[in-house]
């Protein structure tokens, strides 16, 4: 290696989409063995930059150097050869294949043309032991958790000999437990000499694992800083270009009449097992009820049942006093539901359709967006423009396909569409997943604003911070049931963590107090 110890240098990278500059003269230097965080607002151009590095996009101008030598990366295959592997946010695995089959797919080892599964399994086993990437090589992808899928993706890149790993928002889909494990894995990787670029919106993650951090704002590189000497506040301010507040300002809640009441509902998941077991809850006008829980404890099924996307086996769901269980989604929507869905690509958007059509998708059949069955393109455009402006959705125009928006801006578009309809019940499932701190602050404000306007809000999130910050009451779900309802003022992250793992409220409180060495306070 030359005098520099940079494994990768990106110099003056510019990427234009039409006349729009997604990357504008960006510089990035990656040292060998470091974890380098890439921080920037939604739409700042992070994914674009990394797609250039992994051969999915070609830069309009700029140079890439690997170990000091200039290279052209014009395909993912070429990136592979150069030792660059990317773990995308949306996994690209074949559901029906096993873990092993997925890992070797595309570079199958063979003996005289015959697939050599033995050798493959052996090397996968070695890799997974070396880096603590525990997986069951024989399981089918469809039967493993999201966290596992991600490990398979990581193994896939390692199997192909990656020296430089790019993680694009790897933690957005993980539970806190899985996030911890991933952090360990990343450390293990760098200890073995691999270099990592990590895109994340979570500043505490950057503080925990990253060595240096490059901040990008609106396509331009702002600065590269040492993480240990920079505070989270400084990072956030640098990224947004103004001072951001982390703590959401919130007045006292004044809950009024019950808007949503769920009585003893049972919901089955795909394989026919009961995911929600005789669950009851109420959400009142003017309050935010947070649902905390580890992924897979029935939260998704509960929301799908309330919103009419899945069947309710038994029990009652009332919205504004009207029974809505097993009604059609349209009926429920008309009865006052707004829904920010958990999986925005599957349910929230029709990616190939234009942004304006996506914004109109809940109201296209009503005046003024249409009249007697005919769409009114002018009104649709006006409406879309209004929401884009109001909710600060960053996009080239309202006519680009929804897929051309950055992840965070896609989410903003959905939130705009749902909140603008002024629903009496707003269900927000993981509403800030993948959003930057500025956008999170904004969305939280919007949720609270809905509440202050006398609407009921049901917030489902895996982020304890978010739950604690935004909710007025917190319902903890465990194995298809609500195990406790607590108030944010009188609970802590640890206590919630214990409740989510299935302990009872008394036990959780006792355990937390013992740890803190405090006198037991009274349980309400």
């Amino acid at each position: 290696m030359s005098e520099t110890n940079f494994v990768i240098e990106m110099k003056g990278i510019t990427k234009e989409f039409g006349t729009f500059k997604a990357n504008d003269n960006i510089n990035l230097q990656l040292k060998k063995g470091e974890i380098h965080a890439l921080l920037g607002e939604n739409g700042a151009g992070k994914s674009t930059l990394m797609n250039i590095l992994s051969g999915l996009l070609e830069p309009t101008s700029g140079k890439i150097l690997i170990d000091g030598k200039e290279v052209t990366i014009n395909s993912p295959g070429m990136a592979n050869k150069l030792g660059i592997g990317m773990v995308h946010q949306h996994f690209m695995l074949v559901k029906k294949f096993t873990v092993t089959e997925n890992i070797i797919l595309g570079s199958e080892p063979n003996k005289a043309g015959v697939l050599d599964q033995k050798t493959a399994q052996q090397s996968i086993k070695e890799l997974s032991e070396k880096y603590g990437l525990l997986v069951n090589p024989a399981s089918k992808i469809e039967s493993i958790s999201v966290g596992m899928e991600q490990r398979v993706e990581i193994l896939k890149t390692l199997y192909r000999g990656a020296e430089i790993l790019i993680f694009d928002e790897p933690t957005a889909v993980l539970t806190p437990q899985e996030i911890n494990e991933l952090m360990q894995i990343m450390k293990a990787l760098t200890n073995e000499g691999k270099s990592i670029i990590l895109i994340t919106h979570k500043l505490d993650e950057i503080k925990e694992v990253a060595d240096r951090c490059t901040v990008i704002r609106r396509g331009k590189s702002i600065d590269t800083v040492n993480v240990s000497t920079t505070s989270q506040q400084e990072l956030a301010d640098m990224m947004v270009g103004r001072s951001v507040s982390f703590k959401t300002e919130k007045k006292e809640a004044y809950p009024k009449e019950v808007v949503l009441s769920v009585e003893n509902i049972v919901v089955k998941e795909g394989r026919g097992l009961e995911a929600v077991k005789s669950l009851s809850l109420e959400v009142r006008a003017g309050e935010i009820l947070g649902i905390a829980g580890i992924d897979g404890n029935g939260q998704s099924e509960l929301i799908q049942a309330i919103t009419g996307l899945t069947k309710t086996e038994s029990g009652k769901i009332k919205l504004n006093g009207k029974e809505i269980q097993n009604n059609t989604p349209r009926n429920i929507t008309e009865n006052g539901l707004g829904h920010i869905p958990e999986d925005r690509h599957k349910y929230g958007l029709i990616l190939p359709m234009s942004l304006e059509e996506n914004i109109a998708i809940q109201t296209y059949y009503k005046k003024p967006l249409s009249n007697k069955g005919f769409l009114n393109p002018k009104e649709i455009k006006e409406y879309a423009k209004k929401l884009i402006e109001e909710f600060d959705v960053r996009t080239q125009s309202e006519t680009v396909p929804a897929s051309a928006l950055s992840g965070g801006n896609q989410q903003k578009a959905i939130i705009a569409r749902e909140i603008d309809r002024n629903p009496s019940l707003l269900i927000a499932a993981q509403p800030t997943r993948g959003l930057d701190v500025g956008a999170i602050e904004y969305i939280h404000k919007r949720l609270i604003e809905q509440r202050d306007n006398g609407k009921a809000v049901l917030l489902m999130s895996f982020e304890l911070d978010e739950i604690l910050n935004v909710s007025d009451r917190i319902a903890v779900m465990y194995e298809g049931n609500i195990v406790a309802i607590v108030e944010p003022k009188e609970t802590t992250q640890q206590e919630l963590g214990l409740l989510m793992a299935g302990s009872s409220l008394e036990k959780a409180r006792a355990a937390v107090e013992k740890e803190l060495g405090k006198e037991p306070t009274h349980v309400e």
């Binding site: 052209t72 014009n74 919103t307 769409l375």
Partner: protein
């Protein structure tokens, strides 16, 4: 970016046609025929005189309908292989109706016969749509089977009900015919009929329906993402059935063109009518866009009609003509492959360590 993909939408079909023509030329060369003379004969035979133009347009007419029909279902995410069978039933029932009610005044009889044809096609496609919506059966398999059911049912009815064990039915009443004298006069007695105008109108109607109505919006949405469509309150079941009904009625109209226009009767079919599969190819080449469909239907008409002149004028035997036409259609089918090549075009420059 939008401009680029729009350009590709024109570039790719044109490219596949050119490749097909080149392969056709190569085949003619290999068999020892002069491709230049061959293609000259083809172009002359398709557009060389008002008669040939009339014939080409007449050939394109039913294809426009079947292609439009196929594309509506395709937009909603269904592969309606059954346009052939639906067209055949449209043909059969329009003729049957016209023969059964000769006393109805001409233009009204024509109008009702066309509607009956459309309904027959809609019903046949509706079966597949219904089964798909409520039992999740593959529309591909169901419509393939329904093609055969339609074929044998039609042949049975022609022999035993519509005629006395003859292979053809009587001609439809003069007044109900789409063959208008002025069109024949204009094109030196070609078989061009009024259906071409109806085809053009339907292309516009389908375009408006798909792009400008809420129902068309739903069909597009369901086709692109059924989950998000359900979330947005659209009924997937309803849209499957609606799109199949529209698809089938257009295919049925395509068949009725043969009965009310080209042939004025119906006869026992040796196989599933080619307007079905040709219509699918036309729709795919036209990328499901009504304007694209008009152009590609014209191309298919020209290939068929122009191909007839090749043996006479350029001594290219019919078999070779068929191979040439097939190779063009093959490249149309390979459209997606070509699309990939065009997409990669930009990436073909050298890579690796400099």
């Amino acid at each position: 970016m939008n401009n680029k993909s729009k350009l590709d939408n024109i570039l790719v079909p044109v490219f596949s046609v050119i490749l097909g023509l080149l392969l056709g030329a190569l085949i003619m060369l290999v068999f020892g025929y002069n491709p230049v003379a061959g293609y000259q004969a083809m172009v002359q035979g398709a557009f060389g005189s008002s008669f040939y133009i009339g014939e080409t347009l007449r050939q394109a007419t039913p294809l426009i309908f079947t292609a439009l029909g196929f594309s509506v279902a395709y937009t909603a995410g269904f592969f309606n292989i059954g346009v052939a069978g639906q067209a055949l039933l449209g043909w059969l029932f329009s003729v049957w109706f016209a023969l059964s009610f000769p006393e109805i005044p001409g233009i009204i009889l024509l109008f009702i016969s066309l509607i009956v044809g459309a309904l027959a096609g809609a019903l046949w496609a509706g079966i597949a749509g219904f089964l798909r919506a409520y039992f999740n059966t593959s529309e591909v398999i169901v419509t393939i089977m329904l093609n055969y059911t339609a074929l044998y049912t039609a042949n049975y009815l022609i022999r035993n009900v519509l005629s006395e064990s003859s292979d053809t039915t009587a001609r439809i009443p003069e007044g109900a015919s789409l063959r208008w004298a002025w069109l024949s006069d204009l094109t030196s007695n070609s078989t061009l009929h009024g259906g071409i105008f109806l085809a053009l109108i339907m292309a516009v109607v389908v375009w408006i329906f798909m792009k400008k109505t809420t129902a068309g919006f739903e069909i597009r949405a369901v086709g692109l993402n059924p989950f998000a469509s359900k979330y947005a309150g659209m009924s997937t079941k309803r849209n499957i059935i609606i799109s199949m009904l529209i698809s089938g009625s257009l295919a049925g109209l395509g068949g009725a063109m043969e009965g009310m226009g080209t042939f004025q009767n119906i006869f026992v079919q040796g196989g599933i009518p080619s307007i079905g599969f040709d219509g699918i190819a036309v729709a795919l080449l036209g990328l499901g866009n009504p304007v694209g469909i008009l152009f590609s239907a014209l191309l298919f008409g020209a290939l068929k009609i122009g191909g007839n002149s090749m043996p006479l004028v350029a001594d290219v035997p019919t078999e070779v003509v068929d191979i040439v036409i097939a190779s063009i259609i093959f490249f149309v089918g390979a459209n997606y492959l070509i699309r990939m090549v065009v997409d990669k075009r930009a990436k073909l420059n050298k890579g690796g360590v400099k």
